[in-house]
Amino acid sequence: MAAPLSIQLEFGGGAELLFDGVKRHHVTLPVRPKPWDVQQLLLWIQMNLLKERPELFVQGDSVRPGILVLINDADWELMGELKYELQDQDNVVFISTLHGG
């Protein structure tokens, strides 16, 4: 059983346009039988936070190419990408490097 997680999300580089222009979101992820990983987080974001145009943020199982993900100020590729298990008070940042946001 995973306890409810308190996570800080940040969106930059234009990605915030898809979230009503709000850059910082403080969210509490509900309890789940299995631990939360980044892949689950993406699904959760898509269902609960994304206001429009999901294809500009997610692609298949992962983020759209061109969107960087930092977990606690470190490259997510160093942490295991989608398989990283989220801890309480983690800070996840999504920065878009694409021209069109």
Binding site: G12, G13, D73, H99
Partner: protein, 470 residues
């Protein structure tokens, strides 16, 4: 697709081998925060130092769009000029920002709000800055398109210039910059600009046209304010995408100028791209980790689907490829470094051999069996016959009144510019832009005026050609 061994196995920075890694650069090199910072700063100074194109004491205009690359460039310049910098940079910067609020149709308050944010950012640097609305492009003089002589003799030695600068150096304190008055924009100009944008039928051509107009505006600002160098913030990823899109757009001949480090097509003002060695990822990480301020401004192409234009499609292609093959962008970049133009230096190019829009040398001499000739032949064959469009049939009145134009050309040619005539003054890809426009009348006055001037001159030349000695 088998993934490479997760680099976190090594768990230490590849440079200092002590600290835990924060960023994964290039193909699989983990760097810790401090080593990344070092690496980033060093690249900028090395890029400028290696190319030796910016002389000490020179006035350099930084074109800042508010985006991450240009703000990062601004930050680097600021850091490099600060008194305690190791290998201090030595030039005099100014900043220019083009306000493109007219394009997205955003209201005056929003434009003002963005401009205020940007101004606050610029003010904190202490450099003189200019906020120019894009509408200003409609008021440019025709002289902006004409080649200018370069300021200084480019062969003068870099070392000599450094020596001279050191001797005459004063205390190095920047004069306090006067706040610029908010640029006044007339509503009619905004509408004219919007009409111009609306007259372009495809997104591809629209993006190209806007990019040309922006360049003209930057050039004009640099000239009028006395800057001899223009620094653009294009990063490696953006330039790799630009190179591939340019080839798709027919701009292969100008690829070296469009994506190289220095761009000398204007003659007097040289554009440089010091960020061309940084990938978009490196810049985004650096800005986030070291709190470099930037302002995201929603543009015409925000949230557009990828099939909208050649540029968007290429961007999507390159970024997708990059995720699976992280050396994509750097390979394209290294290939582009090897590009050089075969024709002579464009700054020496004569008026009649320049493209009216992009100001590069014309690439439209259709020699026998050239690809361009083949394109022209197939175009003629697939169109219905319209001989009136042909350039040869331009009628001119031999009995003109004596109200001739001041530049020594006859005034009797037609006052309305035909697309065919304008196309004859342009390179291949700019011709394609014109082809995608529903009407030429919304083009800014300076382009039409300069085009007409050139046409009159070439007409006059044709008239008196039998009398000329060469």
């Amino acid at each position: 697709m088998p993934s490479a061994d997760p680099p976190s196995i090594t768990k230490v920075c590849v440079k200092c081998k002590v600290q835990p890694p924060a960023v994964l650069l290039r193909v699989g090199d983990p760097y810790c925060r401090e080593c990344f910072h070092e690496y980033f700063i060093h690249k900028f100074r090395a890029m400028l130092g290696k190319n030796r194109i910016i002389f000490p004491g020179e006035k350099v205009l930084l074109a800042v769009s508010g985006g991450p690359s240009s703000c990062s460039m601004l930050h680097q310049v600021q850091q490099g000029l600060s008194v305690d910098a190791h290998k201090k940079l030595r030039f005099t910067p100014g900043i220019v920002f083009i306000d493109e609020g007219a394009l997205t149709g955003c209201c005056l308050e929003d434009r003002l709000k963005t401009n205020t944010e940007i101004q606050a950012l610029f003010e904190s640097t202490g450099f003189p800055f200019h906020v120019v609305p894009l509408e200003r492009v409609l008021e440019l003089p025709a002289s902006v398109l004409q080649p200018h002589e370069s300021f200084s003799d480019s062969k003068s030695s870099y070392k000599a210039a450094v020596g001279e600068f050191d001797q005459t150096q004063s205390s190095g304190v920047q004069p306090p910059c006067q706040p610029q008055e908010a640029a006044e924009v007339h509503e009619t100009r905004t509408l004219e600009l919007q009409q111009l944008v609306a007259s372009v039928k495809t997104h591809t051509a629209r993006e190209e046209l806007l990019s040309m107009l922006r360049q003209h505006l930057l050039l004009h600002t640099a000239r009028t304010e006395g800057y001899s160098k223009l620094m653009l913030g294009d990063n490696c990823t953006r330039l790799a995408i630009k190179l591939l899109s340019n080839i798709s757009l027919g701009r292969g001949a100008q690829a070296a100028l469009d994506t190289g480090f220095s761009d000398s097509r204007y003659g007097d003002v040289i554009a440089v791209r010091p960020m061309r060695d940084y990938s978009a990822k490196e810049i985004a990480y650096y800005n986030h980790l070291f709190k470099v301020p930037s302002v995201f401004i929603s543009g015409l192409d925000s949230k557009t689907p990828e099939k909208d234009s050649i540029q968007r499609l290429t961007e999507s292609f390159v970024t997708k490829l990059q995720t699976d093959f992280p050396s994509t962008v750097s390979t394209i970049y290294r290939t582009s470094e090897k590009l050089q133009t075969a024709c002579k230096a464009p700054s020496a190019v004569d008026d009649s051999l320049r493209c009216e829009l992009c100001l590069c040398a014309l690439d439209t001499s259709a020699e026998n069996a050239s690809a361009f000739q083949a394109t022209q032949i197939s175009e003629q064959l697939s169109q219905r016959k319209c001989p009136d469009d042909s350039l040869q049939n331009l009628k001119y009145d031999t009995t003109c009144s004596d109200r001739c134009h001041g530049d020594g050309t006859c005034c009797s040619s037609a006052s309305k510019l035909e697309p065919m005539e304008l196309k004859s003054l342009m390179c291949y890809s700019c011709q394609l832009i014109i082809k995608d426009m529903s009407s030429l009348e919304h083009l800014p006055g300076y382009i039409l005026a300069d085009a007409q001037r050139r046409l009159r001159r070439s007409q006059m030349r044709a008239e008196i050609s039998s009398f000329l000695l060469d």
